[in-house]
C-alpha cells in the first residue's frame, strides 16, 4: 500500500518525459509511451486495491503523508495521499478507462501533427485527476480539480486554436469559475469551522457541525460540483466542450472529469449527512437536470451532441442519488456510466473517422454493414444506457430510482421524473442507433440537396449556432478548413484500426457485465455497497423486496417502451419509400414531425422550446456574466482618461469623501 504515490507518479513521469522528448519519440512511440505510463498507474492501483481487499474492512484507510504544509498559527495541513475504498475505486476506473482511451487515441490521432502534444495533455489530465481523487484533503482535491479543468480547457481548444474568441472555451471557463468560487468559499468555511481540511478530520468533526453550517457547506460544494459536473444551471459548457477530439470527450467530458463533482459530494458525505434541506436541493437539481438534458438530447442531430446531453442527463441521475443519500448507487452508476458512455463516445469517434469527419447523423445510415465492430459495440452501449437488463446500466439506474422512490414524501415524484428521463433516454438512444447504423446510406444523396439542407438547418435550430465551433473544430481534424464537407456521395466507410476497436470491445464487455458489481439480490452480492460501506455515514435503506421488484419491472417496461417508440417512429418513416426522394431537409423534418405526431403537437414544440431556452436564455446568462464583468470595466474606464488633472480630480474627490467621513465621526 506504500505504493500509492506511484499511482499519480506514473502519468507525471509520462508528462515530463513527453514535454522534454515528445517530439523526439514521434509517432506513434509517444502515444505508446503515454499509454504505458497510464497502464503502469492502473497496475499499481490494482496492487493497492488487492492490498486493501486483504485487510479488514474497517481498516481500509491508508494515508501516506508526503509533507506538512503551512504551519500558520495553530493550523497545519498534512498533505498526503489517501487510499480508501472510495478513492481506490475511482482510481481503478479512471486509470482503467484512461488506459483504453490512450490506446484508442493512438489510432484516432494518427494523422495529427500535434500527436505528442495531445498525449502530454492526456497524461497531465490523468495525473491531475488522480491527485483529485487520491488527495487526503480538500486543497489537493481542489488542485486536481483546477488541473483537470485546465486540461479540459486546453483540449477543447486542441484543434480550435483561436481559443480566446471561442465561445465554447469561454463558456466552460465562466461556468467553472462560478463553480470554483463555491468550492473555494466552501474550503474556507470548512477550515474556519473544522480547523482542518483533511478528510479524516472533517469526517471526525462532522457530527458536531451545526445544521446551518453544514447546509451552507453542502450548498457551496454543490455549487462547485454543478460547475464541474455540468448540472443546472451551469451545464451549457459541456455540450460545447465536444469541440475537442473525441477521445477527450470520452475520457474527460463523459467518463472521468465530469464525475469529479459527484466524487466530491460522495467524499463529503459526512457533511451532507448533517446538511438537511441542502440534500433536497441536490436531488431536485439532479433530477431536473436529468430530465431537461434528456429532452434536449431528443432534438439533436449531431452524433456527439446527443451523447453530450445524454451525459449531462446521466450526471443528473448521479446527483439525484447523492441527494437521496444513495451514495453507493451514485458511485455504481458513475462506474457503469463511465463504461458505456466511454464506449458510446469512442464508438461515435470511430464512426466520425469512418465518415470523413461528418457528425450529422442525418447523413449516416446503414453503417453496420461497413463498420461491424463499431456497430456491434455501439449497440451494446445503447442497450446498456437504455436500461435493458441484464446490462450494467439497468442495475445502476434501477438502484438510483428505487432509492429515490424511498426518499421521503417527495420520493415518488423524484422517481417518476427519473422514470420519464429513462423513457426519453431509451428513445433518443434508439433514434441515434437507428439513424446511424440502420436505414439507408443517406450520405449517398445528392450533394446539392444536402448543401441546401445545411443552410436551412442553421436557420431552423438555434442550437446549431452553438454547434458552430464544433463544426469548425472537426473540419480542422483533417486540416481541410476549406473542405468542410469531406463526406462525398461515393464515400466508402471502413472499419477503424485495431487500436480503436480493441478499446471498444473491452468497454463493451464491461458495459455488459459491470452490473455484477452490485446486484440487489442478496447482501453478499452488493459488493460495491459492502466495499464502500466504511467511508459512508448515514446508511440509505432500499425499499423492501416486493416494492423493489415492482419498481424494477416498471423500469424495464419503460426502457422497452422507449425503445419501441423509437423503433416505431423509425419504422414509420422507413415504411414510406416515396420519402426517399425528398431532400435531407424534408427527411429531417419528417423525423421531428413523426415523433411530435406521436407525442402530440405540443411535444415537439416543447422539445424545440427547451432547446431554444438552452441556447438563448441559459447560454445568454452564462455569457452575460462574462460580458457583465467586461461591462463594469468599460463603465469605469472613462475615469482613466490619461489626463493628469482628471486623476488629480479623482484624487481630490477621494480625499474630500474621506474628510466628509471623518467629519461625521468627529467630536470637535
Amino acid at each position: 500500500m506504500e505504493l500509492i504515490w506511484l499511482i499519480p507518479a506514473f502519468p507525471v513521469v509520462g508528462f515530463v518525459v513527453l514535454v522534454l522528448f515528445g517530439r523526439l519519440l514521434g509517432k506513434p512511440a509517444a502515444g505508446w509511451f503515454a499509454s504505458a505510463m497510464v497502464a503502469g498507474s492502473f497496475a499499481t492501483t490494482l496492487v493497492v486495491f488487492l492490498d486493501l481487499l486483504s485487510t479488514q474492512s474497517a481498516q481500509r484507510v491508508f494515508e501516506q503523508k508526503l509533507y506538512t504544509w503551512m504551519p500558520a498559527g495553530s493550523f497545519t495541513a498534512t498533505f498526503g495521499l489517501m487510499a480508501d475504498p472510495l478513492s481506490i475505486m475511482m482510481c481503478l476506473f479512471v486509470t482503467g478507462i484512461a488506459t483504453l482511451i490512450h490506446i484508442y487515441s493512438i489510432g484516432y490521432m494518427r494523422d495529427d501533427e500535434n500527436f505528442s502534444k495531445f498525449f502530454i495533455y492526456l497524461n497531465l489530465f490523468v495525473a491531475s485527476m488522480l491527485l483529485l481523487v487520491l488527495g487526503n484533503n480538500l486543497l489537493l482535491t481542489f488542485l486536481g480539480w483546477e488541473g483537470v479543468g485546465l486540461c479540459s480547457f486546453l483540449l477543447i481548444g486542441f484543434w480550435h486554436t483561436d481559443l480566446a474568441n471561442s465561445s465554447a472555451a469561454k463558456k466552460a471557463f465562466v461556468a467553472n469559475r462560478i463553480g470554483d468560487f463555491g468550492f473555494m468559499v466552501g474550503i474556507f468555511l470548512v477550515w474556519v469551522t473544522v480547523g482542518s481540511i483533511n478528510y479524516a478530520d472533517i469526517r471526525a468533526y462532522a457530527p458536531n457541525l451545526a445544521a446551518g453550517t453544514a447546509t451552507a457547506m453542502a450548498l457551496l460544494f454543490f455549487l462547485g460540483a454543478t460547475g464541474k459536473s455540468a448540472q443546472l444551471p451551469l451545464y451549457t459548457w459541456l455540450p460545447d466542450a465536444m469541440a475537442g477530439p473525441t477521445p477527450v470527450s470520452a475520457l474527460m467530458h463523459a467518463a472521468t472529469m465530469v464525475t469529479a463533482g459527484v466524487y466530491l459530494m460522495v467524499r463529503l458525505n459526512p457533511i451532507l449527512h448533517e446538511a438537511g434541506w441542502a440534500n433536497d436541493v441536490i436531488a431536485w437539481v439532479g433530477v431536473a437536470t436529468a430530465l431537461v438534458a434528456a429532452t434536449i438530447a431528443v432534438a439533436q442531430n449531431d452524433i456527439k451532441k446527443v451523447l453530450a446531453y445524454s451525459t449531462v442527463s446521466q450526471l443528473g441521475y448521479m446527483f439525484l442519488a447523492v441527494g437521496t443519500h444513495n451514495y453507493v448507487a451514485a458511485m455504481f452508476h458513475m462506474v457503469t456510466h463511465a463504461f458505456f458512455k466511454a464506449l458510446l463516445f469512442l464508438g461515435s469517434g470511430s464512426v466520425i473517422v469512418g465518415m470523413a469527419h461528418e457528425q450529422d447523423m442525418r447523413r449516416y445510415g446503414n453503417l453496420r454493414k461497413y463498420m461491424p465492430i463499431t456497430a456491434g459495440t455501439f449497440i451494446i452501449g445503447w442497450l446498456a444506457i437504455a436500461g435493458v437488463p441484464p446490462l450494467s446500466g439497468f442495475w445502476s439506474k434501477d438502484e438510483i430510482l428505487a432509492g429515490a422512490f424511498n426518499a421521503g414524501p417527495a420520493g415518488p415524484v423524484l422517481w417518476l421524473l427519473g422514470l420519464i428521463t429513462a423513457l426519453l433516454t431509451a428513445f433518443y438512444m434508439t433514434r441515434q442507433v437507428i439513424m446511424t447504423f440502420y436505414g439507408d446510406e443517406k450520405w449517398r444523396e445528392d450533394a446539392h440537396a444536402e448543401a441546401h439542407a445545411g443552410a436551412d438547418e442553421a436557420a431552423e435550430a438555434g442550437d446549431e449556432a452553438t454547434g458552430a465551433p464544433v463544426a469548425t473544430a472537426v473540419a480542422a481534424v483533417d486540416h481541410a478548413h476549406d473542405d468542410h464537407h469531406g463526406l462525398t456521395p461515393d464515400h466508402e466507410p471502413v472499419e477503424s484500426p485495431w487500436t480503436m476497436t480493441f478499446p471498444l470491445v473491452v468497454l463493451a464487455g464491461f458495459s455488459i457485465v459491470a452490473g455484477v458489481l452490485n446486484l440487489p439480490f442478496s447482501d453478499k452480492l452488493e459488493r460495491l455497497g459492502n466495499w464502500l460501506h466504511p467511508v459512508i455515514i448515514g446508511e440509505h435503506h432500499m425499499p423492501n423486496a416486493p416494492v423493489l421488484f415492482g419498481l424494477a419491472s416498471g423500469a424495464i417496461t419503460t426502457s422497452i417502451v422507449g425503445i419501441l417508440i423509437g423503433y416505431a417512429v423509425y419504422e414509420k418513416r422507413k415504411a414510406d419509400p416515396s420519402k426517399i426522394e425528398l431532400s435531407v431537409l424534408a427527411r429531417g423534418w419528417f423525423i421531428d414531425e413523426s415523433y411530435s405526431k406521436f407525442m402530440g403537437g405540443p411535444g415537439r414544440a416543447f422539445y424545440q422550446g427547451v432547446a431554444d431556452f438552452d441556447s438563448k436564455i441559459v447560454d445568454g446568462v452564462v455569457n452575460g456574466v462574462g460580458k457583465g464583468s467586461l461591462g463594469i470595466g468599460r463603465l469605469i474606464r472613462p475615469a482613466q482618461s490619461g489626463i493628469i488633472r482628471t486623476y488629480a480630480l479623482g484624487f481630490g474627490v477621494g480625499a474630500v469623501l474621506l474628510l466628509v467621513f471623518v467629519v461625521t465621526r468627529m467630536s470637535l
Partner: protein, 102 residues
C-alpha cells in the same frame, strides 16, 4: 480688536492648501501645477509652525527645513522632465500628455 489666535493661522493654512489643490486641478501648465504644489506644501509648513508655537515645541519648526528641501528636490526633477519633454515637442501642456489611458 480681534485677537489672532492659532486658529486663524490654521484656517489660513487650510485656505492656502485648498487654493493650491484647486489650482492644480484647473491649470494646465506643468510649471504652474508645480507652483500649486508648492503652495500646498507652504500651507503645511505654516501649519507646522503654528502648532510648533502653540505646543512650544521646536520639532515642528525643524520640520519646515526638511519640507523646503523636499520641495526643491521635487521641482528640480520636475523641471528636468519638462525640459526632456520640450526637447521632443513644442509645448508641455499637461492635458496633451495623455498617450496612455483606459
Amino acid at each position: 480688536m480681534l485677537e489672532l489666535t492659532e486658529t486663524w493661522y490654521l484656517v489660513l493654512a487650510s485656505l492656502i492648501f485648498t487654493i493650491g489643490a484647486v489650482g492644480l486641478l484647473v491649470r494646465r501648465n506643468p510649471l504652474v501645477m508645480f507652483m500649486c504644489v508648492e503652495l500646498m506644501l507652504n500651507a503645511t509648513t505654516l501649519t507646522f509652525v503654528t502648532f510648533s508655537k502653540a505646543l512650544n515645541d521646536v520639532g515642528g519648526q525643524a520640520s519646515v527645513f526638511f519640507v523646503l528641501v523636499v520641495a526643491a528636490a521635487e521641482v528640480v526633477v520636475g523641471l528636468g522632465i519638462i525640459v526632456a519633454i520640450l526637447r521632443r515637442q513644442d509645448n508641455a501642456d499637461a492635458d496633451d500628455l495623455s498617450l496612455m489611458r483606459g
